[in-house]
Symmetry: C2
Subunit: 452 residues, 2 copies
């Protein structure tokens, strides 16, 4: 079997290079040894937009993501929520088309164009056949949604009603309450925490003109990342990106940097809730996308609390103590410091002891780091499962967008396994000791208040 | 744009053929004109198993589905439920490994092996890196799960407890109750209806020896369909299929044909339920996988009730009458006749009128068929969206398994769009008039009983 596999790999490496030589004008940089290297092509348009492309010709489909530095971190502190409405309502009326027209055109053309907005980015996603007429229709729709959203007052009012209803329902959900309270502790002033300050009044205060102003100010080609995966070559991708952004204001936009995250450590909040299970959350802003300790923190976390039933938190809190069905730890890297967090649910009476045990497991792990066997298990799982993280064009598109937006190297995915493989137990222990202290973590509990 | 696209298509067609010539011994049958043709390779093993393969070398991943004619339609009428337990419990203990071992090995090797069972098929799915050592580990695990499940008594008892709990919960769910009652009307004796006869006693009656006997009898290579998609060539696929099935009893199995479905028409059942919404279901066994009217029925259904907000049922029951948020019609083709069904929920007081209107919409559609414009809209959407139905290796694997199991032609997916395109309004009207009569449909209502 090994021999057969080797022959197949060599012949395919040759084919990949031929394919690239024929369909792009950039010199191929594919290594001789890895036929599955992704070969992300990337360049800038004159208006400053960045384009990233991976050609995938097996299916006649093109997936496109256009992202702008227009997420909620760009909100005015006095007008929280404007960014998310401005981004997510773009596909509910644009140019001469109302919501119903857009729905009908998408259905008739069998294309998907939808707008999105999150903390750091906002934009649109397009999915279309690569067949030229269909793709042209999809681009026309995408360009219009991106450049000329109409933000009809009736739609805004309806969506405000929905948002208020959702917000009210969330205020009874222990998991949401915990996340909201923790965000207020972690990011009391910082733009990453704006969403946790929302309330009915702030939602109702948003005006149609706010959306128009926000859209005009922040949807500029100079901050755009256009990611494309599919049955398309570089010159087609250049045309697609140019056309999608052509109707936006072309003046370059110099945005202020997002402020560093000031740390507010060691705080505690309890929220009373009648649920029989208490939700425990321990968290602190720790990790950025360009963090020097990125791999040591992330890979080390597999052993602590991301490795499922084999993780230390799971073994101690679930198997040994029977406190919970599951306990997990998680890093959420962002442009500025995103959170490290540990979460679990347990019976109210067990909550104080479960919190103590959680802190002890973390303290021990910071002190000792992973064993060689634990690190090997983490590496096997993470490296072995890595290709599954971009095994569809849609997932790969998400990675391209991340690479483009956070200015990660183009070989980020190709070199990820080597970087994981190279880690030592010492490097992980060192990073965790420098970056995490148990007493620094903020703690939120949501559940029944125990009598002292 | 058109010119560019043409150049790209031609160069890729050439590349695809070169790739195939190097990696398979069968002559390539790829047409010159369609670079996206799937080229499903298929052959039989000596033991009778059928293999289907699509090579996909962009990622170092292999997906495998091994399906047997061992679904619940093979249950003994006196021992309902044995098939589903025998199939789905295979991955909970096999060879020398217990459940925990299998979970741990899968995690360490970063492979996924899981067993499944439904009405017509049972088997396993494997996902692995194509890297030879990992793939070899995955195959060893797959072979063991498939050939030597241990069905531990503790696992069986636990899963019986779960099944009983699930069954009890389902008996309070209007949607489930409706589906169960309708299946009893449609398939009162037929194996397709066995699942709707399950109850606590039938679940508890299943013995470990029943599972062992069922597994020994029905998991035979001669009824197996091994589908493979991924970074693998034909000679590797041959080895994989051979190895996976090597430890099963090799004697060929001559299974009796599944009986044709006797029709029981025009029945009505009402189930009282305190919910404020009444669930309406109209259904009848109509369509088989090899149905001569397959395309005319399925494509015609887009206009009636599968085209979302534009469908006739939706327009009349939702937009014009305000009876419901959504109304849908659906075909479920099987080896023997599967169902045509219409479903919706409405306020209890509106239920009689909603049922009348539903029948009238169907009667009108059967009488008139789609307009030219409606058919064109259906074609645009179905043909345009068709490539999205196998846009991941996992989805494509599902199609291969369907093609293999139901003995559909290997060019089924490639010719599907042409067959849709060729349909006329007359053909659709003719098929619907021959195959569906409103008064034949069985009707189930679940909701508050109205005073007469």
């Amino acid at each position: 079997m090994k021999t057969i596999a080797t022959i197949s790999i060599l012949s395919l490496a040759w084919l990949s290079q031929s394919a690239l030589a024929q369909t792009t004008t950039t010199p191929s940089t594919i290594a001789q040894t890895n036929p599955h290297q992704l070969h992300i092509q990337s360049w800038h348009l004159k208006n400053g937009a960045k384009v990233l492309l991976v050609e995938r010709h097996a299916l006649p489909i093109v997936d496109i993501n256009v992202a702008f530095d227009a997420g909620s971190r760009r909100d005015d502190a006095q007008k929280i929520g404007v960014a998310n409405f401005a981004g997510s309502l773009m596909d509910m009326g644009a140019g001469k088309w109302n919501e119903e027209d857009i729905r009908r055109l998408s259905s008739d053309w069998a294309v998907t164009v939808s707008s999105f907005s999150d903390t750091e980015q906002a934009g649109i996603r397009i999915r279309s056949l690569s067949q030229p007429q269909t793709l042209q229709d999809a681009l026309k729709l995408g360009q219009t949604i991106l450049s000329r959203p109409t933000y009809p007052q009736t739609v805004l009012t309806r969506e405000q009603d929905r948002a208020v209803l959702g917000w009210k329902q969330n205020q009874t959900d222990p998991q949401f309450l915990s996340s909201q309270a923790m965000t207020r502790l972690n990011y009391p002033q910082h733009p990453y925490g704006y969403w946790a300050q929302e309330n009915e009044a702030s939602i109702r205060a948003i005006k149609r003109q706010d959306l128009i102003d926000f859209h005009h100010r922040y949807f500029r080609p100079s901050t755009a990342v256009v990611s494309i995966v599919g049955d398309i070559n570089r010159s087609q991708a250049q045309k697609i990106a140019t056309e999608l952004l052509a109707d936006l204001p072309q003046q370059k936009l110099k945005l202020p940097n997002i402020a560093a995250v000031p740390l507010h450590k060691g705080q505690t909040t309890h929220i009373h809730h009648p649920a029989s299970q208490t939700h425990l959350d321990l968290s602190l802003p720790v990790i950025s996308r360009d963090d020097v300790d990125y791999f040591a923190l992330l890979i080390g976390n597999y052993t602590l609390g991301a490795g499922g039933f084999d993780s230390l938190l799971m073994k101690e809190l679930r198997d040994n103590r029977g406190f919970t069905y599951g306990a997990y730890s998680h890093f959420n890297p962002m442009a500025q410091k995103g959170t490290f967090s540990i979460g679990l649910s347990t019976q109210a009476a067990n909550a104080p002891e479960a919190l103590k045990v959680t802190k002890q497991v973390l303290a021990d792990y910071i002190a000792q780091g992973p064993t060689e066997a634990q690190l090997q298990q983490a590496k096997n799982n993470i490296i072995g499962g890595f290709p599954m993280r971009f095994d569809t064009n849609n997932k790969l598109l998400g990675w391209l967008s991340t690479i483009g937006f956070y200015q990660l190297p183009l070989d980020y995915l190709d070199t990820y396994p080597q970087k994981v493989q190279a880690l030592t137990t010492e490097q992980i222990r060192d990073a965790w000791q420098r970056r995490l202290k148990v007493e620094d973590l903020n703690v939120v509990t949501v559940g029944q208040s125990l009598k002292q």
